[in-house]
């Protein structure tokens, strides 16, 4: 198979609050391969988002290690809400990450703006976020993340704040963008169909503390879009297998 991109080894993490200690993750082993689309599903509140925070380095594991295949591997994080800054135009929002990381050059700017053009948001460059629809805003947020040229994308339920129709369309589009830019991605979701329709592999987590219950390999070819996948007969078999795993 492909080469390893990132590896969680025997990772545990506990939260401390005044009321006590909560084990969020226990003895988790997980490998992400280069170029793959991995989905994490699990009951809500099971600590899926915590896994992303660990990978991103926003949290440190209580035990175990998070290792990357090489130094300086770039990560991009996309949140559930777009968090576009209201006082900036679409263009300025897209450039925010580059600005913050002092990587804003003529070249990187041109590349980021080309992404806007490529994915149909070019004409909205000078708009303010309030003037865009929810789906468009989320796309701008994705391009803001892509502008940083991440090697690995962390998607934290990026569609869950959208209405169903927008969600289907956008996940189709985001899938195309991510595959088109040859990125690896980890998608956290509680929506089984979303996981099956986008991922190469689906990691099923147990209820808290999160443990890896099973990894389901999805056999669809990588160039098959989420909408087409949804209409395949195997789709429901995968769905049922994951559904059974999720049941306590």
């Amino acid at each position: 198979m492909q080469s390893e991109l990132m590896k969680l080894s025997d990772v545990s993490l506990s939260y401390h609050t005044v009321a006590g200690e909560t084990a969020a993750i226990q003895n988790l082993d997980l490998t992400v391969y280069d170029g793959e689309f991995l989905a994490l599903v699990g009951p809500s509140g099971c600590g899926k988002t915590t896994v992303l925070s660990l990978i991103m380095g926003l949290l440190s594991p209580t035990a175990g290690s998070v290792r990357f295949s090489r130094e300086g591997l770039r990560l991009g994080y996309m949140l559930q809400r777009d968090h576009l800054l209201d006082h900036r135009t679409v263009e300025k929002n897209v450039l925010l990450g580059l600005e913050v990381q002092h990587r804003l050059t003529e070249e990187s700017k041109a590349r980021a703006l080309a992404l806007l053009d490529k994915y149909g948001l070019g004409e909205f460059r000078t708009y303010k976020p309030q003037q865009l629809s929810g789906g468009m805003r989320q796309k701008v947020a994705l391009i803001r993340t892509l502008a940083l040229e991440p090697d690995l994308l962390l998607l934290d339920e990026p569609f869950s704040a959208l209405d169903y129709q927008t969600r289907l369309n956008l996940s189709d589009e985001v899938y195309r963008i991510i595959r088109g830019e040859h990125k690896s991605a980890i998608l956290v979701t509680h929506d089984i169909s979303e996981a099956v329709s986008t991922a190469d592999r689906v990691a099923v987590f147990s209820a808290r503390p999160a443990r890896l219950k099973k990894i389901v390999e999805i056999g669809f070819p990588a160039d098959m879009s989420p909408l087409v996948r949804r209409s395949q007969p195997e789709f429901h078999d995968y769905f049922d297998r994951i559904w059974k795993e999720l049941r306590p």
């Binding site: 949140l79 968090h83 800054l85 925010l96 913050v100």
Partner: protein, 265 residues
């Protein structure tokens, strides 16, 4: 704002909107004129004693007399200077303190109860103390104006900063932003509307501080005129000063509102 009508019905709608707007303005003017007329009439027909309640014509005459003997500008200038100084210093200091407290959340937690008490305390109660400490002069009055606007600015601006932080902090951390970047790129721009509302509140507060300061200790200013007029039973002088004060306070408020419009667009 002139709008082009897109249809007959739309034109009717636009006419109605304009008519409503005109009617409101006319009613406002009518209220003012009616009030002045009743006041004047009441004084002329001796419904009440004009010596106690004054009258519009006597107010105008008093203002003209003050203008003629040159003391109008002295009093207006003194009060205006004190208020603008108090307002600017109070707002700038208040905003700076808000930045400091945002930057150091521990400090904010420690000082929180003191801020609450200071906010609740009627600052003018400190007047006599200020006079003893700073002296019976303009400095005391300005400090009073500062004190009254300072705390409310700090509280308003700080709350605005904290609300903006909560929202976007996670995003900025995923982008790898430093604290200074979070402040300059997110918190400060998002805090501008709160800063402006703080200005609107504190401009009124500064007038309160300065006028009370002048009541306590002053040799010139509109507050001085009001107290003096009250003591020697010249109610014309009191009413004239209050009228001038009304006009000045309104002008300053609209100046801030104008600034707000400029910043928002």
């Amino acid at each position: 704002m002139k709008r082009i009508a897109v249809s007959e019905a739309h034109a009717r709608y636009l006419r109605r909107v304009r008519r409503d707007a005109r009617a409101v303005v006319l009613c406002r003017i009518a209220v003012l004129l009616g009030f002045l007329l009743l006041w004047e009439l009441g004084a002329d027909l001796k419904w009440f004693d004009p010596f106690i309640l004054s009258s519009p014509s006597r107010v105008v005459a008093t203002i003209v007399r003050l203008y003629a003997d040159g003391s109008l500008w002295l009093h207006v200038g003194t009060t205006l200077l004190e208020t603008v100084l108090g307002f600017l210093l109070g707002t700038i200091l208040g905003a700076l303190i808000a930045v400091l407290l945002w930057w150091a959340p521990k400090l904010n937690r420690i000082l929180d109860p003191y801020l609450v008490v200071l906010n609740a305390l009627p600052k003018i109660a400190l007047g006599p103390v200020l006079i003893v400490w700073i002296g019976a002069g303009m400095a005391s009055i300005v400090v009073m104006g500062v004190l009254v606007s300072l705390v409310v600015t700090t509280v308003t601006v700080l709350n605005g900063f904290l609300a903006a932080t909560d929202e976007k902090q996670l995003l900025m951390r995923t982008l790898g932003a430093t604290k200074l970047q979070i402040f300059t790129k997110v918190v400060l721009p998002a805090g501008v509307p709160d800063l402006i509302s703080a200005l609107k509140i504190s401009v009124g507060m500064s007038w309160v501080g300065v006028i009370v300061g002048e009541y306590l200790v002053s040799k010139a200013g509109l507050g001085y005129l009001i107290v003096y007029g009250g003591q020697v039973f010249k109610l014309d002088l009191v009413m004239a000063s209050v009228t001038v004060l009304c006009i000045l306070a309104a002008l300053m408020y609209y100046a801030v509102a104008f600034l707000e419009k400029k910043v928002r667009t």
